[in-house]
Amino acid sequence: MELVRSHVLICGGTGCTSSGSEVLHEEFDEMLVKYGLDKEVKVIKTGCFGLCALGPVVVVYPEGAFYSRVKKEDVEEIVQEHLLKGRIVKRLVYDETVEQNDIKSLNDVNFYKKQQRVALRNCGVINPENIEEYIAVDGYQALGKVLTEMTPEEVIDTVKKSGLRGRGGGGFPTGTKWDFARKSVNEQKYVCCNADEGDPGAFMDRSVLEGDPHSVLEAMAIAGYAIGANQGYIYIRAEYPIAVRRLQIAIDQAKEYGLLGKNIFDTGFDFDIELRLGAGAFVCGEETALMTSIEGHRGEPRPRPPFPAVKGLWEKPTILNNVETYANIPVIFNKGADWFASIGTEKSKGTKVFALGGKINNTGLVEIPMGTTLREIVEEIGGGVPNGKKFKAAQTGGPSGGCIPASLIDTPIDYDSLISIGSMMGSGGLIVMDEDNCMVDIAKFFLEFTVDESCGKCTPCRIGTKRLLEILDKITKGQGTLEDIDRLEALCYHIKNASLCGLGQTAPNPVLSTLRYFRDEYEAHVVEKRCPAGVCKALLSYVIDPEKCKGCSACSRKCPVGAISGEIKKPFVIDTTKCIKCGVCMETCKFGAVVKK
């Protein structure tokens, strides 16, 4: 009998690994031996806890003490004070959890309070490289139940009843998708998983794969049984080395335990899964391009129909689901479709994981019930906008999505409300913007991305997005006209209607939605030649306020192009013909005398 009384969980997600969590593991092992605690304290590497910005994260149980930004030098103190003497090292504990002299449970911290972890239920709880830990938290029970007690039709009915919709962006009902594939008669069918995650700034799927890879494998096997397939492929980007490694370990362990492979649960059902690494092109996340890429060709979309459920991978009936969609499947069978359907709103059931970023205090990974308002996410979970700035808008759906302005901050987050206000759920990027963000510039940022990522197969997207970008560029340079804004808008609709695949069809969304809510900003750029947020360099100039300037010369010594001159103790001036608008003078001046206009 092992006498373990305490567990030290070290985050092994990508965020914490890059902030240095790997050395902590060895250091803990060493210190535990030094203090003679190695038999009673166990160190476990887990997946992401969601507060990556506070990484490396270490959580010590049974107390549940959440240590943040732990450095190698801190480990000895944690071992000696906390693990040996039982005194939590308050200095290192996440401030939000400290309450007077005690620490409160993580679930009571604002960041976690409004969250509900369904897809992320095991991330940061189990060791993803040990299948027995997954089994201990009900892993593979759903597969066992499905294979031994349910018919494929019942499986599909359960998924339909749960109301689960695709988490990869489109929101297509998962049960219906499986039903189509089931009804396509063929000897050979395939189950694919979309782990391409090309949306810049998104890392939800990576975190699931790193923290709980078995849940995806289990779900794919269930899908295989439901549609009548016995081969699965996970298409994952090669830039996710930790996720790739953990998935491979998980697949190998599942095979070793007979949970993948031949004759699973002695039911005669065979299912195997292989990984396919993608090179990271955004368009390869589109379903037909993804399948073309798995087949070994250049990842280009092809026209639909035929839909993959009829003719997908190697022309065989295929389903493709997103990582997070799959991660929900085992819970639906363990806790019941009704339980799942009780979470969320009428047409959007369950939860959604978002990668919260931008101008927000708590950046990280959050999972909320559908129907949570943007205000709750920004103000409560996210802890508000830093530096006392005002919330201006949030962007969801990345390059295919749109923005939600401050006036709509009480919008419940679900598929349909987001569409109705001209944004979309997307795969889960959520970028918060404050008054210092220029909306024209934001639209331009996403267009630059799509222009780079357009595969070039069809003209409306290849040429159209370039034209859009040119017009946006002109506007941000102060050379635009009011007619340009109208042309921009018209071109958007044209691209949306004429493009072959989802990339082109959604590429204009960031432009359309910023035009819808922030047309005045576009107009300020073209009419007044002014960027209200002070972002577009061409439209602003740095000037020194003679009232405030003390004539200290600090700015002129820092200016890289020698644009500032003056006499000591008298107001200095900036020569706007020389100035390259680097902003150094503004940062330098201690008296706030340099202003952007």
Partner: protein, 123 residues
Amino acid sequence: MKSLAELQALKQKAIENVNLRKDREDGVRVVVGMATCGIAAGARPVMTSFLEEIGKRNLNNVAVEQTGCIGLCRLEPIVEVYAPGQDKVTYVKMTPDKVARVVAEHIVNGQPVAEYTIGAAGM
């Protein structure tokens, strides 16, 4: 894997390994005073005896925690037991031999062992 029963058995075996990580509200907490004087007075063997005893009986919902100075050096080793719905019980001058009774009578059956408590020590 040949059957659900086999999976269930594996789960039972594996569950102890993750149980510690639950946020528990219903379980019993055994808190051992482990400041310098506690350790000097022999708190560590007391704590390991608790772990052994709890392990032997497969009690899944008991957590053994440590705490710092309780402020009663002369009565160390001190152990506090928090059971749901009961007041905290403080045991003093604990030794490894006393542990089995505390686990059996108090933690399992809900009857504190009065003669080991702080009240019996004349405080």
